[in-house]
Symmetry: C3
Subunit: 150 residues, 3 copies
């Protein structure tokens, strides 16, 4: 089943690509690699994970970022079916200084990519804790995908 | 107008490439991609943005990093005119834990790249907050550029 | 002398590749680039560098991460002799907010790469301070390597 068919089957609703908050663009393709800018969760929830925001809430935030990143991919490539492979994810959690469950948070995005792309959704990843994030949002994720040659 | 002509027209003075502060090199090219090491502002200003350093000051620091990154590109490639495209910027702000205006800071570098390269200067980007940075400097930025095939 | 010969000559013992702590894989190759997931030190030492963990201890942690990254490269490519070049390292230190010696910490990994690969081990790098890391570990490092074409 193709990624676009999977989106329909799962009943996923991709959000609009948000306007960049600074002087940059949502993605740049070079050769077969598409570099996506870091995105925050839909609705820009504010908080420190491990403080006023739970791991379960932050998992959902990471999933909502995943939907936005899918939307950027579709916008840039015309169709999610042009994604050959998710290559690399950098998951950045706005966390309390003693927080340690970053992987469980960023799984919200990783699980979604694997639901949509299957084995081609499996990626290399780092999931780490930032000191702060734009607008004090809880999570930000950027990624690199490989584009089909066609 | 070429990037090198633009540098002259804007009256920009590129700083010398600083010596790496550790066991690494300023940039590595692989295929058509040039990966640049993270750099700090000229003069290595110390502080926490949103604490003792204002957004306006940090914007200027990010701009000065941009000048250094241009200098690294020229040094590595022989001329800025060999840059096909700025692909990706990772802007890292040494910020207070409740800081939220990272995009406004990193625009200092992004604006410069667009002044110099025009549309080819537009890049994917993340602008985020670190817990600390080398020498307690205020901002660090790394980037990836695509090199012309020639 | 090849990298694999160098491993023997230096008497280095590569650890097993640890299971990913989330829904991701240790590395993904796209074209000639191998992207490696972020890894922590063997034994997952806990602490804040510049707080309860010294620069010297953290240097050894970074070196032990380097050994794990070498192990991931060998596992992915069949042999370290298929590495053409270490391209980029992102060294992330779980540091106290006023810490400033990140480069001295991440040299633990960089020095190792140069011992093993010689000039081909020299890489672009950023060494920065995170607000927190998974399991409260002291250091995390990810990297990108270029793979030989053959």
């Amino acid at each position: 089943m193709s990624a676009e068919q999977q989106i329909i089957k799962l009943g996923l609703d991709l959000p609009e690509v948000p306007s960049p908050s600074g002087n940059y663009v949502p993605s740049v393709q070079t050769g077969n690699l598409l570099f996506l800018s870091g995105k925050g969760p839909v609705g820009l929830p504010v908080g420190k994970v491990g403080g006023d925001t739970s791991v379960e809430e932050a998992y959902q935030h990471a999933r909502s970022i995943g939907l936005t990143l899918l939307s950027v991919m579709r916008d840039s490539l015309g169709s999610l079916d042009r994604v050959e492979r998710v290559v690399k994810v950098l998951g950045m959690v706005n966390a309390a200084p003693d927080f340690g469950q970053h992987p469980a948070v960023i799984n919200g995005c990783s699980d979604l990519f694997i639901e949509v792309f299957g084995e081609s959704g499996r990626h290399a990843r780092s999931a780490v804790g930032m000191g702060s994030l734009p607008n004090a949002m809880t999570v930000e994720i950027e990624c690199i995908v490989e584009v089909k040659s066609d």
